[in-house]
Symmetry: C2
Subunit: 245 residues, 2 copies
């Protein structure tokens, strides 16, 4: 038995998300498992580092698989990629220690959220940005973001009701301008359901003047989802990297 780590990119536009849900919905995990089974000849669970929601993209999702024996990783990757549709792609296959698990072993993650501020969204990136045609006060957004960095109870910033602990640590939030586009990069030890999209919506409400940066602190303290900002759409969100030791 050998364990392998897969690094995967996908355009989530037409998928119901990462997680397999029966046989009828189109999911990234479901697609990968069916292709891996075709290539190796037996069913292999593909365990992702975490779910990505419907419509969310990935530039570096990870997953672990356990195979019956040794494989040539490059040949395996090529065989899998040949069978995959053009919107899913294995970027790397690494032999890892037995016992490695992409989700349980993950120490942190990096996500990107992309915004297009133009009057009409740029034609060639329209499927990968959220169109928000407003003037934004970036410095105010950066200030608000700084209050979120560190270990906090992010209960107000998730739509998950039954999370055991809602305490997470955000290592860094970087806001960068690229012409009329903005990238917000989040690094942290873990992110809950909708957490990045709610934080992004809240930062946008600060950026367009609806809220003061300091409100973010009261939202955190309140632990009430209703006090946080709106949920931005999935199309602008990319899982960029998963960190391991």
């Amino acid at each position: 038995m050998r364990t392998y780590k897969l690094t995967i990119a996908y355009d989530g536009s037409k998928y119901q998300g990462w997680q397999k849900q029966g046989n009828t919905s189109l999911t990234i995990q479901g697609m990968l498992e069916s292709v891996v089974e075709k290539v190796v000849g037996y069913y292999v669970p593909v365990n992702g580092s975490g779910r990505t929601d419907r419509g969310v993209h990935a530039k570096g999702q990870t997953a672990s698989i356990v195979l019956a024996g040794m494989i040539d990783t490059h040949e395996f990757m090529c065989n899998i990629n040949e069978q995959l549709p053009s919107d899913i792609q294995i970027l790397q296959v690494d032999l890892v220690k037995n016992g490695f698990h992409a989700r349980l072993g993950a120490k942190g993650k990096c996500y990107e959220y992309w915004l297009d501020l133009r009057e009409k969204p740029e034609v060639f990136t329209r499927k990968y940005t959220y169109h928000f045609p407003k003037k934004l006060q970036i410095s105010e957004m950066k200030k608000a973001a700084s209050f979120l960095v560190g270990e906090h109870d992010f209960k107000a910033f998730t739509d998950k009701k039954d999370e055991k602990s809602t305490i997470r640590c955000i290592y860094d939030i970087k806001i960068e301008e690229y012409g009329s586009k903005i990238k917000i990069e989040y690094k942290g030890n873990g992110f809950m359901y909708h957490m990045i999209r709610i934080i992004t919506g809240t930062l946008l409400e600060v950026g367009d003047g609806r809220r003061k940066p300091e409100e973010v602190c009261t939202i955190l303290e309140s632990k009430k989802r209703g006090n946080a900002g709106f949920l931005v759409p999935a199309r602008g969100l990319f899982l960029k990297e998963v960190y391991y030791e």
Copy 2:
């Protein structure tokens, strides 16, 4: 009567090209004319700077229209853009001198051709690059390109049979690497049917070692299409800019 110049971007993936062809095919010109008619209330021909073929994209196509009277250009642009599908977009509307014609007045054009050299094409740009997974000798391609710059008879580099004159002037060909992608930028006073795509195919055959750079000169002299390289697909081609005085 007032004449306006439109600058237009489009994702050509699902269109039969710029030029209207009856009422049943999906074309950029047809789409624009139907939306302009809806907005101004009467039929207005939208005269492009030139045709782009099926599947070719544009970051800066131009067209001229003649309207019955003065309009607020910004309001007009917004009204048109609201009606257009998300893969076509007016970037700018300028009032120009009466008599201006986007095709007849054009002094030159700039095109970009994008290649993806990775084993499998990058997921998020797969519709806008030509996947050519080979090692390329860029310096050899640059040398071959240098023989094409200047005024030449490009008869060997077009699929158009009935062109009156096949003499054109290429001002510049720039080959630039962006990670695993390559952009070839062409500037010239005009390009014939398939000319850029045949030149690109020929440069690729130089890059992968099938031809020597000097062969380009014999191809030019031969004036035979059969001697030139293969036709690369439309998906990597963008009309970037049209020059006027």
